[in-house]
Symmetry: C2
Subunit: 290 residues, 2 copies
DNA sequence: CGTCGTTACGTCGCCCGTAAATATG
DNA sequence: CATATTTACGGGCGACGTAACGACG
C-alpha cells in the first residue's frame, strides 16, 4: 500500500493542524487510540515518518509538512469532484455564481439580464460567500464561476477573464479628519483601523464584518474605516464619505472558473459577462459624467 | 455522507471506463457484487444517478461524466500528495527530473553541471518516461520537474519557464524521395506515416516507439518517418537524413513544475536552467557557424 | 503526579466472495 | 436462453471505544 485514503488524510490533517492528538480526536469526534493507530498505519504504509512525537506535543517532519499542504488540496479535489458531479445531475441545470456582497462592480444585474436573454441559458444560482472565499467556492465545487477582485484573490488553479479595472475609494465616518478631502493617499490612512474591505476581512472577522450593513454601522460610529473598489459607493450609507485614494493600486474585477472546466454553460456565461463589461467600459469612457 | 471515498472513486472510474461491471470487477481484482453495492452506495450517498444500466451495457449520466473526469484528477492529487510526501521524507534529498529520451534539446548535461556547481544543490534523479508523459509524471508526484515541449504537452496545473525555441526537422530514410532536399514543407509529408516524434507516439505505441533506437531502426528501413525538434539531429543514426520543415510550427523546450510548488530546490533548478538556456541562445546567435 | 501518546482487548460494522434471483433482447 | 446486473447470505478483516500502560516534565 502506498496510496493514502481520504480518512487517513483527514485524520492526519487534523493532527497536523492541531499539533495535538487529543484535540484532533475531539475535533474529529473519535477517541485518541484510533487516531494513533491510523497515523501509525499511514506512516508504515508510506514508509516515511510524518510526525515527531515529543512529550510536550507534536512537530511535523519534512514529509509531514508536504503531506499537510498536498493532502489539503487533494481532499479539496475529492470534495470538488463529488459536489460538481452532484450538481451536474440536478435538474434543471443551474449555473452557480459565487459573489461577495457588494463585490459585483455594479455589473451583476446587467450580466444576469443579458445571460437570461441567451437561448438555452440555464438559471443562475447566486451564492453569497464571505470576503475572499469566492475562489475557494469555485475550487471546492460549490460554485461554477465567481466574481472576485484581483490581485486580492488567490487564483491558483483557476482561469479568469478580466472585466473591469476599478480604482479605490476610502469609506470614512462623517467627522473623520479626511472626510472633506477630494482625494487622499494611502499614507494618510496608516493610523486608522483598516480591514481592506471588502476583500480580506483581516483579523476583524469576529466582529461580523461579513455583512455590509454591519460594516457601514461600524464606519458611521467611527470604529473603523474601509477601502474598496469604487463600485462600493452605491452601497455606502448616507453620511459615509467616499474619498478616492489616488495612489492605491487599482483592483480588477474578474470572472473566474476552474482551469480545466469543459462546461459549455460556464464559457457561455463568461462570454456574456465580458460583453457586458466591455459595453460598460465604452459607456463610461464616452459619457464621462452626467 | 456526501464525500466520496478513494475506494469508491477507484471503483466508479473502473466501471465508467470499462462501461461494464464484470470487466471492471476483473480489472479491480474483485467480484461483481461488491462493485454493484459500492456504486449503489455511492449513488445513494451523493443523491445522484451516475450510471444508466441498460441490458446491453452501461452508459454514463451527465453527473457520471463529470465524476469520471473530476474523480480522475482527484485521485491523481491524492496519489501525488502521498508520493510527494514520501519523497520529501527520503534522505538524502533528491530532485527528480522527468525527461523523454532525446527530448532535452542538448541542454541537459550543461544544466546538470551548472546545477551541481551550486552550493547545497541536491542530487538530481533523472527518470525517463514515455513520450508525452513528462507532465503527467510531475502532476502525479513521481517527478518534481520536467523537460517537455510546448505546445505538444498539456500543461494544465503546471507552471513553466521556456528555455529554447526549436524549429522542426524531418527524419527520413536514405532513399526517401525528399532526402536530398535542403528544406521541405509539411504538405510534402502528408502521405508518409508520421508519428510526430518524439512528443506524441500517436497510434503506433504498439510498435515500441518509446525507444529512440527502435525508431531510428524503423526510419532506416523506410517503415515510417518522424518529425521533431532540431535537437534530435544529434541522435540521428548515420544514413538518416535530417531535413528542416520550414512551415512547421516551432516547438518550445520548457521546464515545468507544479503550479503550487513551494520547493526551494525546484526554483533553484529552474533558475539555473534558464541561465544555461539563455547562455546557450546567446552562443548560437553570436556564433552561427561551426 | 499530571499530561500526552501508545498498547491491549472486545465489539460492531463494513467489505468481500459464493450462490441464487431477476431483467432483457 | 444467454448475457448482465442485482439480491441474499455468511465469513473475516478493520475501525472503534474503554481501559490499562509508559514516557516525560
Amino acid at each position: 500500500m502506498t496510496q493514502a485514503d481520504t480518512r487517513e488524510l483527514r485524520y492526519f490533517i487534523a493532527v497536523a493542524e492541531e499539533r495535538h492528538f487529543a484535540r484532533a480526536a475531539a475535533r474529529l469526534g473519535i477517541a485518541q487510540p484510533p487516531l494513533t493507530r491510523t497515523i501509525q498505519k499511514l506512516e508504515r504504509g508510506m514508509g516515511v515518518r510524518l510526525l515527531e512525537r515529543d512529550s510536550r506535543g507534536v512537530r511535523l517532519t519534512e514529509a509531514g509538512t508536504v503531506l499537510l499542504r498536498e493532502g489539503r488540496v487533494a481532499l479539496e479535489r475529492v470534495g470538488a469532484a463529488t459536489r460538481r458531479a452532484q450538481r451536474a445531475g440536478r435538474t434543471p441545470a443551474t449555473l452557480v455564481l459565487a459573489v461577495k456582497p457588494g463585490g459585483d462592480g455594479g455589473l451583476l444585474t446587467e450580466i444576469l439580464a443579458a445571460h437570461a436573454a441567451e437561448p438555452d441559458a440555464p438559471d443562475v444560482d447566486i451564492v453569497c460567500v464571505g470576503a475572499g472565499e469566492q475562489a475557494a467556492a469555485v475550487r471546492d465545487g460549490r460554485a461554477d464561476v465567481a466574481l472576485l477582485h484581483r490581485p486580492d484573490a488567490d487564483l491558483t488553479g483557476l482561469d479568469r477573464e478580466d472585466l473591469l479595472v476599478e480604482s479605490q475609494v476610502a469609506l470614512l465616518p462623517p467627522h473623520h479628519r479626511l472626510s472633506g478631502h477630494a482625494r487622499i493617499r494611502v499614507a494618510d490612512l496608516e493610523d486608522d483601523p483598516l480591514p481592506r474591505w471588502p476583500d480580506t476581512a483581516g483579523e476583524l472577522s469576529g466582529a461580523g464584518i461579513r455583512e455590509a450593513g454591519r460594516l457601514m454601522q461600524l464606519i458611521l460610529v467611527g470604529r473603523l474605516i474601509a477601502v474598496g473598489p469604487e463600485s462600493v459607493r452605491r452601497y455606502a450609507w448616507d453620511g459615509v464619505a467616499c474619498v478616492p485614494v489616488v495612489d492605491a493600486a487599482p483592483t480588477t474585477l474578474a470572472l473566474a472558473w476552474p482551469e480545466d472546466s469543459r462546461s459549455r454553460a460556464v464559457s457561455a456565461f463568461a462570454r456574456v459577462a465580458t460583453a457586458v463589461a466591455s459595453r460598460h467600459r465604452d459607456a463610461t469612457v464616452h459619457e464621462p459624467g452626467p
